[in-house]
Symmetry: C3
Subunit: 456 residues, 3 copies
């Protein structure tokens, strides 16, 4: 009983701590606070442009990721429920962690701050995807607590020290979240992860997952463009590039999914996930002049890469190094994120003052605006890949080891990929008077009757 | 046959009446009509800021409320279908009723007017939640017809006479809708409401309900901020406060749900509903300087209150006074709404000219802008609670009594919580050639075969 | 195997061709490209007003249409999956086709261009609705390839030559898409389309379809108003008219659905589809001064027309001319689209310089702004109906004939309305240790046990 209450005690304790920390450190931003008046036109304009894009991102994090993970036939409560819990937890924690690195004095929260906290939640939820159905909710929250610290550090190094360009977070969010989660998963290998019959979908759980896929697909342009919301010309380029790229990965996913199956049948896993790879792959280059053709090519490549990953690489990694990846985040976020980062290195290297208009250089490559050295920028972009892989893998391994501590209750083998352990799940209706009203199925009572008739 | 057609006849008749009334009383607003030209910049700016927030509210009313109520295993058509019917009905009726109280001469409709009609629909749909699966569709429409009259009167008293601050409608929408619906339900107690085996969910109906939960959760900041859309600094404060509050109620709901269950399991009812209590609880104070910490505390308290309500108060009320509340609107809208209203009283009492900047006082407390008396404002806020409880409970009791009139066909006992009475529901597929393709279930024919095999 | 790979080969080949064509013909628009700077205020304002409406339209095309078609019990993967495939394909192709008709020199893509490509996808997806579950994915893509060509030509004739007013695309999108699809379907009649037991829904597939219905219902005002986004007064009128109209069709659909059923029960087919007819019917007149009453009347009429169509006209057409229409697009898009077009003729004829303010005439009727002749405009509107019916029916018949070519693999009779042919569909879980956890159904193993018990 006490052991089972640990999650609740942890949640209540941390919420009290959050309340205290917010009392000490967090206040409204001037754009939402006492000192504003409407003459402050810049903030006003930014809010109006940003808010619809923020809401798109918000939908992606909570409904998009949440429903994408409902594909498991018996872990849909956990998917959509823990997704909500983790995201709500991370929003509070990331505002504090990121704020402590960026703010001087108090942390002033605007819609922009909350959206950046949503991005941090995105990274943690990607990691959740790698261990979906494996970690207990308590383990998930401890993972979130630790991951946000490493996330904020990595983001700070990439954005403030290396000054890399990663408008859609291909490195900062997707690559980081994927490899952190994979490293945690590597430390959590268990026998029950091999060929577990519960790790599968049923017909309608795959339809639920498509709700997630579609909202992610549709709002990815906002995800990649939101940080440029106040500069509409750049925002439009982000949106156009992301749409070209995600359209490319969609066509590629359908083509490849059919090719890699021996009966040429499409696999819902690919349609749910690989179609989105173009969104990830556009992330680090969405605000650059990669041309519509370039964006199409990147997305098409990402879609192919992702299907190949699901079909061959994930099973190979499971066999070779006992790395389990429930949602295949390596194929949706990991590899496409790295692809995007490498393209960003190449684009930075090939850029010149004639390919980027003067009034945009400060916005896109602030370092180059100072030193004029595109080679240096390319080197920093490459360093960003190394730093992200380093922090995510090391951070994930340490976190995964820590989660083995006995005090952090793990899920019993028999409850892997199963909601029954943590949720009240209705058993079949035992009332004989109640008849089912759908599907061409028979009720318990009818079957019993059938058997009785047979018996007579 | 004639009795069964009453709903259709009522709908056609009322629609003809609406068409005539719109012909006489309703016209385009200048912002959408012949006299506008684009030099009218103020209207233009307001439209651009308001429309995305309006659409968020629109999604909450139709998809949010509609799907939230699909959790019943055999009443999902009714939940999402009657939700659409009632909301479409109320939008037309509320534009007329509210217009007749506010307009001089013709009613001029803008996006703002339609959004306020959506709010009225919200109140009626909350009442629908209290009697979900109990009232017949005809009864529901009569309830909506009467409720909108009382709603408009209560709103008019609170907003125009008492001049209270209730930006997110905690009193005007949530408290009113909840107690009106509960009062109706009290007058509609029937034996079949006790331990009805049909009043339960199945695994995937709970996932459908989460679609509603998430869109409500995500767009609640727009719900509480939309009326301030044209003043971005206040809108941003509404959004930030609502997010802090709803995040607080989310963490609290998970913690409490696990504590109140003897096996420490989470209950989907709490996750679907109590996580949202912070949105309601922020409503009456979202535009005030309650501080981020204050917003977190209010939401956390609302989440705790709501879970306690679902676990203990709703069953106790059912036993003690035969009050049935299908969706538990008392726990999601009733108590959190009153909590919000009381906090608003305290905040008004503690406010001074130094805590609210001069340029905002007219917007937040128009009465205080005139008389400078915050104590008076606090009194009015308290009076608002009393008026809302009075109008909603008296209005609901009278409506509930009226719905007992034999001419307003009620649902037979056996069809409570059952779509079969009002919808064409597919019976099981009888074609033997059709095989089921999902879930580990067997088809009727297979069972029959099983029996036959057994017989041989 | 080679035959089965045709879809993949076609997709990969066409994607390579798209990439090349984009390299040659497509570039960023100045509003998203090198020459912009933020002083270009007009583009900036347009983007901010347009983007939220574009996202609403985007959601309608991918999630709205996609989920609306999931109602078939065994073709939900195909509905939502092929919807995504077709839309992603058409976006690329329509940008090229429409661009080649409208652009001089390179095609410059803005959010507006992409939204217009979404509209083209809408037309093709309407056609998809007519042959849902009938055509193979390869046939669907060939149909999309050809349909976009005819669509772009028809749009060009109506918008640029006849200069008709059709802001919501009642003719250009809905009527065209419906009759094109119906003509294709007429050429694809097969025995298995008659009384196929697989062509039906189950309880929860009807709930999935309601996700589509609601997002279409909610965002239809944006669909009809988006092309006027940069002129807020007209956009507001489009929004208001569309809401009145769709509310009218909703009430009418509920009333009629109950009347036409002999047990007075509601039919989910009508609630899913006919409720939306008001959105279609408002399309050609949404920006006109039809008055709130007029909009309500148009929507109410469209709802009645649509239910009558589902109940009587579709079955009659199937019997009389062997025309199969899986989703009933004739009732949702075809007839309401023509109704809207005829109302638009009447409104144009009755318009005078006093009913439309001078500063709007250029925007609404550019031809009249030049020649001042409303009769001429009415004639052109009527010509638009004839041209659209002509191009769509002739184009559809030719396309339908072409799809009979043996090289374009068709679906075998036994796989009509069945995902099994093109998708990996999980068979029932065979692992005996796995117990089902929901619905009052029994597992395969339990049934077998039942039979065994009986046998003993």
């Amino acid at each position: 009983m006490l052991a089972e209450s640990r999650l609740s005690i942890f949640l209540l304790a941390i919420q009290i701590i959050f309340i205290i920390l917010y009392g000490v450190f967090v206040d409204y931003d001037v754009a939402a606070g006492p000192k504003t008046n409407e003459s402050n036109h810049e903030d006003v304009k930014e809010f109006e442009a940003l808010y619809p894009m923020f809401q798109d991102v918000h939908v992606m994090i909570f409904a998009g990721f949440g429903f994408l993970m409902t594909f498991l036939k018996r872990y849909s409560y956990g998917a959509v429920g823990f997704n909500l819990l983790i995201a709500a937890f991370v929003i509070q924690w990331a505002i504090l962690m990121r704020g402590s690195l960026h703010a001087t004095g108090q942390i002033h929260v605007t819609v922009d701050t909350i959206m950046n906290a949503d991005f941090a939640a995105g990274a943690v939820l990607i990691s959740f995807g790698a261990v979906l159905g494996v970690l207990s909710p308590f383990q998930l929250l401890v993972m979130a607590l630790l991951e946000v610290v490493v996330y904020a550090l990595n983001e700070w190094v990439l954005a403030d020290i290396l000054e890399i360009n990663d408008i859609g977070g291909s490195l900062i969010i997707h690559t980081f979240g994927a490899y952190f989660g994979l490293a945690v998963s590597l430390m959590q290998w268990r026998k029950g992860l091999k060929d577990n019959p519960k790790e599968g979908s049923v017909y309608h759980s795959d339809i639920f997952a498509m709700i997630g896929t579609l909202f992610l697909w549709l709002f990815w342009p906002s995800f990649n463009g939101a940080l440029a919301a106040s500069t509409p010309s750049i925002a439009q380029r982000c949106i156009a590039n992301t749409i070209y790229s995600i359209v490319g990965s969609t066509i590629a996913s359908f083509a490849l999914s059919s090719i890699v199956n021996k009966e040429n049948k499409l696999d819902m896993v690919h349609i749910q996930n690989s179609t989105l790879a173009g969104g990830v792959a556009a992330g680090a280059v969405a605000n650059l002049y990669i041309s519509p053709m370039g964006a199409l090519m990147i997305g098409t490549a990402a879609g192919i890469l992702s299907v190949v990953g699901y079909k061959y690489i994930t099973p190979a990694l499971a066999r070779a190094i006992k790395l389990h990846d429930t949602c295949g985040v390596h194929n949706l976020h990991g590899m496409p994120g790295i692809l995007s980062a490498f393209v960003a290195v190449v684009v930075a290297r090939l850029s010149t003052t004639s390919t980027i208009p003067e009034h945009e250089i400060e916005n896109i490559y602030p370092r180059v605006a100072v030193d004029g050295d595109f080679q240096h920028q390319a080197n920093m972009q490459m360093a960003g890949v190394a730093v992200t892989l380093g922090t995510s893998i090391v951070g994930g391994i340490l976190t995964g080891l820590m989660l083995r501590a006995p005090i952090i209750t793990a899920t019993e083998e028999e409850y892997l990929f199963d909601d029954k352990k943590y949720w009240i799940v209705e058993e079949e209706d035992k009332d004989e008077t109640v008849k089912p009203l759908r599907d061409n199925m028979i009720p318990l009572t009818a079957a019993a009757n059938g058997a009785q008739i047979a018996e007579e």
